[in-house]
């Protein structure tokens, strides 16, 4: 048992840091550092730079074109990227559909889709939730009916993140309405340019456009776009969710978030002294920092188990729950720190990148929108109540 990194691992960390410094566009770095929203092009420039170096799909094994990082390398890579203010990698291609394709797809599909995911030349989005299917995902009703060598897709998907920027969508569709809900679902890849697809924005509480409704009206999808067997899509869906759980804890981002929170509390004033000297506020930050440390070491324990060929144990299931609660708490304390200066709403500055002068410090007008926005973290990816249901059943046997 050893906490120290080996000489090789330290060298790797230096290499990653040098790469990020040399390849992360300065304007993107500044946006991430100041908590601003990023555009499609911002993400693409960074992801393509990673792709050229073979690191975009850093969780993939070598045989599918990934770098085959050890768990320690994964940890180092994620942390260094976060410390250097790199944007989070969009997971839909790299962590979601990519692994589904290389696990369940045929050779033709692997050859067609994987290179573009590795290089970030296509943007993927997710078609899971529906207006009537939230936590009860298996009740989904978007149907795909076979006609010759095509499926005809009708229905709608919602909470579709960044679909307005996407080239492709992976969808769960109903191919057999007569069997048990889980047994009639298939996993389908659909080109967003196909006629009959409409993307309609959903404006969130913070005023931002991040998610959409996607409507399918007699959309023709080649049968060749089916991943895995027809009516066995639920297997892909579960695999994808399990695969997603590790990174979803967002430990490096939360570590960075706590440091940023301390910086704000050093600037904000409270009775003529820096807010950070207010004992009760300081203890709230301290408590949060301890929570992040607990989460980090839980993740490290999982990584060590995996490095020895073991499967993640029950500890992995709690990562999403605690990780999301922590992200919310960070945003809550940042808002608490700025006090009444959380109130000014500056949509131009927030969303359009205008040059208007912020009211108060730059971080203040971002605090409330981030707080409102972060409420999503305990809802998406399977709400925390659903997660507890899964742990209760799968881990505790209740």
């Amino acid at each position: 048992m050893d906490l120290a990194f080996t000489a090789e691992e330290r060298k790797f960390a230096d290499d990653v840091r040098a790469f990020v410094k040399a390849n992360l566009p300065a304007d993107v770095r500044e946006k991430v550092k100041n908590g601003k929203h990023l555009g499609r092009d911002d993400y693409m420039r960074w992801q393509q730079a990673l792709g050229r170096n073979g690191w975009l799909v850093y969780t993939w094994p070598k045989k599918h074109g990934g770098p085959g990082f050890t768990p320690s390398q994964r940890y180092i890579f994620e942390n260094v990227c976060a410390e250097e203010y790199a944007p989070g990698i969009i997971p839909f291609g790299t962590k979601m559909v990519g692994p589904v394709i290389y696990t369940f797809g045929n050779d033709e599909q692997k050859a067609k889709y994987l290179p573009a995911i590795r290089e970030s030349t296509t943007w993927w989005c997710q078609g899971y939730s529906e207006p009537g299917s939230g936590s009860d995902l298996a009740s989904l009703r978007t149907k795909a009916e076979k006609e010759g060598d095509h499926y005809i897709v009708n229905g709608s998907k919602t909470w579709n993140t960044m679909g307005h920027w996407a080239d492709w969508i992976f969808c769960l569709v109903r191919t057999d309405p007569k069997v048990k809900p889980q047994e009639g679902i298939s996993f389908l890849l659909i080109d967003m340019k196909t006629p009959g697809i409409t993307v309609k924005p959903i404006i969130m509480a913070d005023g931002g456009h991040e998610v959409n409704e996607v409507f399918f009206d007699n959309v023709k999808v080649p049968v060749a776009n089916l991943v895995g067997k027809e009516n066995e899509g639920w297997t892909c869906a579960k695999f994808l969710l399990a695969n997603e759980r590790l990174g979803i804890a967002a430990v490096p981002q939360s570590k960075r978030g706590v440091e940023a929170l301390k910086d704000i509390a050093r600037i904000e004033q409270d009775n003529g002294r820096p807010l950070i000297e207010n004992k009760s506020f300081a203890e709230k930050i301290a408590d949060l920092e301890i929570q992040v440390t607990a989460l980090e070491y839980t993740e490290l324990r999982v990584l060590s188990t995996m490095a020895h060929g073991g499967q993640p144990g029950p500890e992995v299931s709690g990562l999403k729950i605690r990780g999301s609660e922590i992200q919310q708490r960070i945003s809550e304390l940042a808002m608490e720190a700025v006090g009444e200066y959380a109130a000014p709403y500056l949509p131009g500055l927030l969303w359009q990148g205008s040059n208007e002068e912020p009211v108060g410090p730059e971080y203040a007008h971002l605090a409330a929108p981030r707080y409102f926005n972060a409420r999503k973290t305990t809802i998406y990816g399977g709400s925390n109540e659903i997660q507890k249901g899964i742990i209760s059943k799968m881990v505790l046997g209740l």
Binding site: A282, A286, I290, R301, P314, G318, E385, I391
Partner: protein, 380 residues
């Protein structure tokens, strides 16, 4: 970086598991607690034979060099069995203080026989007014010829009745609560002028109130440097805190397992109560809490030997905060989910709950360590 146990460490874990399984069934523990000493000499002899009393010490000090991870491994198993033998006061605190501050002669006279199982220690630091401030010490040691004379009071001294030597934190200079002017003395448990009032604790351990009435000791009784004991004691107590955290993770595993079993079998309204979602989610929260406690204990065990004092202190305090929070959550939830049976003496649940509760009280509770952590973390 690798956080998994080595083969040697796994063997240690397995042998500690076996000891608890064989010697610490709940009924056995009840019998051990009721003995006059409150623990068994034969178990202690077995610890010595298995090499456990040498775990944290370097080979130069006659130990086996398993360090803080070794202590973590056995303490976790002790927590699962609510083991009563005084490993913490004798090995972690007493042995630890002698190893870090003792002279060669003191190590030979005290540490070596302790490792062989022939000596028991106790640390007497707390006084009635001290609360959690290790520097709030007023028991006085004054020069007396070549030696010293100790007078004053010490409270809640674990293992004092069994201790061959009591390590006493005394004020030799300075004013109340000043961290300079404190000195450690090794005092014979049967010294003239030392009187004891012994009692059991809530969680079936043994402790004593001690009165020192002009207790004379020689110059060689000083452990470490005169007037400079504070940092040594602080470090040792931080190590004890991390060991306690490991014990608490064992307690939490055991109490969670008992509760899970109970809600699977106890039926109300015609179904096992574990079918109710409100209890399922609470049970999940218990397991998540125990995982976090385990993670923080591991973190602290790895960092408690760091050369940077701030890193060590933050590690110990951070872990103690987590243990306080998780221990309270698991303990209270276990009792609640057991219903009336949870508050009886009959089931093990109330005994784990009592131990977890007292662990939070020891060496600073959750709030105390949150403040200490906060002061360290916000300064940076």
């Amino acid at each position: 970086m690798d956080l998994s146990l080595s083969d040697e460490q796994k063997q240690l874990q397995e042998s500690a598991e076996r000891f608890v399984r064989e010697k610490y069934t709940f009924e056995n523990r009840r019998k051990i607690a009721a003995t006059e000493r409150g623990w068994l000499l034969e178990n202690w002899a077995q610890f010595a034979e298995l090499g456990w009393l040498a775990i944290p010490f370097s080979e130069d000090d006659g130990g086996i060099g398993f360090g803080s991870i070794g202590t973590m491994i056995v303490m976790e198993q002790f927590g699962k069995g609510l083991v009563l033998e005084p490993f913490l006061p004798t090995v972690v605190l007493g042995g630890g203080l002698i190893a870090s501050a003792g002279s060669k002669a003191q190590k030979e006279a005290l540490l070596a026989p302790m490792i062989e199982g022939k000596k028991q220690f106790a640390l007497a630091w707390l006084e009635r007014q001290s609360r959690y401030n290790l520097a709030d010490i007023s028991l006085k040691a004054t020069k007396e010829g070549a030696g010293w004379s100790l007078s004053g009071h010490k409270g809640v001294v674990y293992n004092a009745a069994s201790a061959d030597q009591i390590i006493v934190l005394a004020r030799t200079a300075g004013s109340a609560r000043e961290d300079k002017g404190l000195t450690l003395f090794v005092v014979d448990g049967k010294a003239k002028g030392l009187s004891r009032r012994d009692y059991p604790t809530q969680d079936a351990f043994r402790a004593s109130e001690l009165t020192f009435d002009k207790v004379s000791v020689g110059a060689d009784a000083v452990l470490g440097k005169v007037d400079a004991a504070f940092p040594v004691v602080e470090d040792s107590v931080d190590r004890a805190i991390v060991a306690l955290c490991a014990e608490a993770t064992g307690c939490m595993d055991a109490i969670n397992a008992a509760t899970l079993e109970y809600i699977k079998t106890r039926k109300q309204f015609g179904v096992p109560i574990g079918k109710f979602q409100v209890l399922q989610h609470r049970m999940v929260d218990c397991f998540t809490n125990a995982q976090e406690a385990r993670s923080m204990t591991l973190m602290a065990s790895l960092k408690i030997d760091d050369k940077d004092g701030i890193v060590r202190r933050k590690a110990a305090s951070g872990a103690k905060v987590q243990i306080g929070k998780s221990g309270k959550f698991c303990g209270q939830s276990a009792v609640q989910m057991h219903g009336g049976m949870g508050v009886t003496d009959e089931l093990s649940v109330s005994h784990y709950f009592k131990r977890l509760t007292m662990i939070d009280m020891m060496f600073g509770n959750q709030q105390h360590h949150l403040t200490r952590y906060s002061n360290l973390a916000m300064a940076a």
